[in-house]
Each structure stands twice: as C-alpha cells, then as structure tokens.
C-alpha cells in the first residue's frame, strides 16, 4: 500500500499530496505558472515606480516630526539644544497672541510676495525679449549671465548703500534671486522650441503673434515651471538672510533676537514656519503646474 502511494507520487508531474487528501485545485498549477500569474499577466518586473498616492509627500516630514517628538519625550534631547515640538508650539501660540509673531509673519510674507512678483515679472519679460528676438538676446542674455555669476547676497552691501537699509533693498534682492531662475529656464525653453513646430507654423501661415502665443509660449511652459519652483524656494532663502542681517522686524529678525537671548524654541519656531511656507508654496506651484500642463498627464495615462 505504502509502495503504491510512493510510486504514484514519483510518476506524478509534480509533487502532489497523498491520494487520501483532496488535491488542492491542480488546474491552477500547470501551464499558467510558466507564463502568467494568477491575474493572467506575464511576469515582468515593474521598473517604473508604482502609481503615486495623494499626499504621500507629507510622509517624510511627518516621520521626521515623529522622531523628534519621540526623542524629546524619551528625554534624549537637551531642551537647550532642541526643545520638544510641543514646547515650540506653545511658544508659537504665546508669541501669536501676546508677541510680535503676527506682524513679523505678515511683514515677511509681504516682502517675499513683493520681491517674488517683481522678480517673476522681470524674469518673464526679459526671457521673452531674449528668447523671441536676436537683438533682445544680444542685449540681455550676456548681461543676465554676468548677473547670475555674481552671488546675489554679495550685492547686499552695495544695495544698502544705494537704496538705504529700508524695505526697498530687501525687495530688490529677493527680486534678483527670483528673476534669475525664471529667466534661465524660460529662455532655455523658448530657445529650445522644436524646429518641427516652427516649420508647421510657417506652413500654416501663422502670424508672428499667433506663432508666439499658440506655439512658442505653450511649448515653453514646462520649462517655465521648473524655473518657477526654483524661484519660490529662492525667495524664502533670501528672506532668511536679509532679515537676519538687516531688519527690525520680520521672521528672520525674530530668530536673530532669539539667538541673542538663547531662545532655542523661538529659533526652531522660525525655522518650522519657513519650512511650512516653503513646502506650501512649492505645493501650490506644483498644483498650478498640474492644472496648466494637463495635456502632459494624458501621455502617461
């Protein structure tokens, strides 16, 4: 009896359970295993990352926050070096209701917004002038490249002498930091318009204005958005520097004062606010990009 069973096992195409047990659905095992999984798909390895999940980009920052909170709660962090998140929040609430945080924040936002708007407009206008005419390119492109080679923050002393230590010079510095990436990316995108589309426009007898509006500018938008995102980050970055060296109010000033009095929690609060604003503005640009460049999504779907 035992011998009989063993021979049956040997001659079977693959190891099966003893005859006494119900064989678990043998139909699923043959053929399909070799070329397809249970979903009827050939077994290829997916090389592209899987589909994107909404808000997944928040995961990293939240994890960092959790580690910070955990370490503080466990007493691993000296509060003089890095205070706990709740201490920072408490300080924030305190400064918001009783301190200068509200006006500092408004001042900083206003500076960043002004500088950003001026820089954006200048970058777009210059890039269009340089990208759409040879004269414009001859006049503008070299100049901007020189300007780009000069570290903008190195211009601060000169600008203070020229414009005084008030708001103007801060806004101008932010505008310079903003216009450079906008110009560079938009100009490159305008110059890189596919020659095939230029031919098409000629054949269709488009006017110069139609060509610019319907072919060149939409074609350059992806490049423009790359510059825009760099510009948003740049405006925050320069704000920090400007407000820490020459200001009597603003978020950077708040942090600078806190440094003098050893208030680590206020410094960390300032950094958190910068981080949140930077992240939020970048997300806003991304959202806008997805709206405006809707046609690109169709390529991947």
């Amino acid at each position: 009896m035992a011998e009989h069973v063993s021979t049956a096992v040997v001659t079977a195409p693959q190891p099966v359970h003893p005859a006494s047990m119900p064989a678990p659905a043998p139909a699923t095992t043959p053929v399909s295993v070799a070329r397809g999984g249970p979903t009827g798909r050939p077994r290829t390895r997916r090389l592209a990352p899987g589909p994107r999940r909404p808000y997944a980009r928040l995961l990293g920052p939240l994890l960092l926050l959790a580690v910070w909170a955990g370490a503080s709660g466990a007493g691993l962090l000296d509060p003089r070096v890095l205070p706990a998140p709740w201490t920072v929040l408490h300080t924030g609430a305190h400064l918001w209701t009783g301190g200068t945080l509200r006006t500092d924040l408004a001042t900083s936002l206003w500076r960043a917004a002004q500088g950003f708007a001026i820089g954006l407009a200048a970058g777009v206008v210059l890039a269009l002038a340089a990208g759409l005419s040879r004269t414009g390119e001859a006049l503008i492109d070299g100049t901007v490249q020189v300007n780009r080679a000069v570290p903008t923050l190195g211009l601060i002393p000169l600008f203070i002498l020229w414009l005084g230590i008030g708001e103007t010079f801060k806004v101008v510095i932010i505008a310079i930091v903003v216009y450079i990436p906008v110009y560079l990316n938009l100009h490159a995108a305008l110059a890189g318009i596919d020659a095939r589309y230029v031919e098409l426009a000629e054949v269709l007898r488009l006017s110069r204005w139609q060509f610019v509006r319907q072919v060149v500018i939409p074609g350059a938008l992806p490049g423009f958005f790359v510059g825009l995102r760099l510009a948003v980050t740049g405006s925050w970055l320069s704000l920090v520097v400007l407000e820490q060296i020459n200001a009597t109010n603003g978020l950077g000033y708040l942090m600078f004062q806190a440094q003098n009095y050893g208030q680590t929690d206020v410094i960390v609060l300032g950094l958190l606010i910068y981080g949140v604003f930077g992240f939020a503005s970048d997300s806003a640009v991304r959202l806008l990009e997805r709206r405006v460049l809707a046609w690109r999504r169709s390529l991947s779907s």
Binding site: R196, V203, R205, Q214, S298
Partner: protein
C-alpha cells in the same frame, strides 16, 4: 540608365487647364558645394495626383520643401509658382501636444472665414471626414499613430488646399494602417480635388495612389510616368506590376526582384 521621359500612353481624362497649379522652371538648390536640385522643370496641372520617388538623398524632400517655401537658408535659383492655398502633411503628424485635436486642426484659422462660415464647424466636419468624429476634445497624446496622421490630414483639409504636399506621410505607420490611409487619401482627393505632390520612397505606394509618378535622380527628374489604371487599385493588380518594374528599374533595382533599397 538613360533618362527615359516616357508616357505609358495617356489620353488625359480631364482636359489640362491653361495654367498649371505648380510650375518649376530651372529650380536649383544646393547645400554648400553639393547640388541637390539641378535645374528641375516641372508642371503639375490643377487637380493632378503626382508621386515623387527617389533614393534617400536624391533631393525629393528638398524639392518638396522648396515648393512648400520652407527652405529659407538654402542657396538656389530658378522660378517657382504655387497656388495661394498650400497644405503640407509631414511624416510625423506635428500635432501640438498642448492643444486638443480640434484646436490643432483649427490652428491659425480665423474663427469665421471670408464667407462667414464657422471654423469650428468646418474643423468638426474635417475630422469626421477622416474618421475622427468624437475625438475632437482628445489630446494628441491619446491618439494612435494612425489617428494622429488622420488629424494632420484634417488640419490640411480644413484649409481647402489647392495644392497638398505630403512628405512621406505614411512612412512611420504600420503596414495595415498605411493601406487604410492610402484609401482615405485617395477618397479625400476625389472629393476635394487638390493637386497633390506626394513624396515617397515606396514604389508600390506611388503606383497605387498616383496618376503620375516622377523619379528624381541626381537632382533631375529622370522618369515621368503616367499611371493609367482605374481606381481603386489593388496591390495585386497584375497591370501594376509593369509600372512597378519600370519604376524599380529607374531606381536602379534589377528587375529579377532584388530587394529595393528602403522598401
């Protein structure tokens, strides 16, 4: 290979109009020291369907680009007259990926034409004619290669061209799609009757579609052959074989059926 300018008999079914749609006289184009078109003379009567064959580098694309007015920076001489309304179909569809299909078709056309007809309506009609009704609002990236080329045809059509230039328009399509596009192009021609200059390297395509086939060789028109067969033509039509062999011979392919280069 003597330049055999021959007519395989042709009592023209339509009387030739007094003035040809396209006239090239002594057209010369050169890139540096290399002369690509060497004094081409060519008349295309209004409404004629002409195919232009040639090896790669024979100058056929240069000729088409000259007629289309796309060779701004090329040195050359000669005279060239073309009709007012010229449309071009390229090998790639050249649909702008950021405009929906209907907006691509209507690119550069005024909202209302001289007779007050609505452009969008005509665009829709053109899309329907090429079999793309219902795809007006798709992005070009959502269309297949054949559909994109159909949309490009619709874009040409909506301009009501007197001359349609096509530079290997089906070269990038698969064989089945190409045959369907042949039928479509021929139908559109029968309905709208523009003059057509179709540049191709495909001898069969030229023989099946065109009423007149030119072979360009070393910058000159070496063969001017009238294909006098009724439409629709089948690739299997034995009478087509005779034309095919003549054309292959003109292209320097031996008649024993050695593979033709680029086919």
């Amino acid at each position: 290979m003597a330049p055999l300018t021959e007519q395989l008999k042709a009592p023209q079914p339509t009387p030739t109009p007094s003035r040809p749609a396209v006239r090239l006289t002594g057209l010369t184009r050169s890139f540096g020291a290399r002369t690509v078109l060497d004094g081409v003379d060519l008349d295309i009567p209004a409404g004629q369907f002409v195919a232009l064959l040639g090896h790669s580098g024979s100058g056929k694309s240069t000729l088409l680009r000259a007629v289309a007015g796309l060779d701004h920076d090329t040195a050359g001489s000669g005279e060239l007259s073309t009709p007012e309304r010229v449309s071009v179909v390229f090998q790639d569809s050249r649909l702008l990926p950021w405009r929906r299909v209907l907006d691509n078709v209507l690119l550069g056309t005024p909202k209302r034409d001289a007779e007050g007809r609505d452009a969008a309506g005509r665009g829709r009609a053109a899309l329907a004619e090429v079999g793309l009704a219902g795809r007006e609002n798709a992005w070009p990236g959502q269309l297949s290669g054949g559909e994109q080329q159909r949309a490009a045809l619709a874009r040409s059509l909506v301009r009501e061209p007197e001359l349609l230039l096509a530079d290997e328009p089906f070269g990038a399509l698969d064989a089945l799609t190409r045959i369907r596009m042949h039928t479509l192009l021929r139908e559109l021609w029968q309905r709208h009757h523009p003059s057509v200059l179709l540049v191709t390297h495909d001898v069969d395509e030229a023989a099946v579609l065109a009423d007149r086939v030119l072979v360009l060789d070393h910058g000159r028109i070496a063969v001017d052959l009238t294909v006098d067969l009724p439409h629709p033509r089948s690739y299997r039509d034995p009478r087509l074989g005779e034309y095919r062999e003549r054309l292959l011979a003109a292209l320097g392919v031996r008649p024993d059926g050695e593979p033709a280069g680029g086919n």
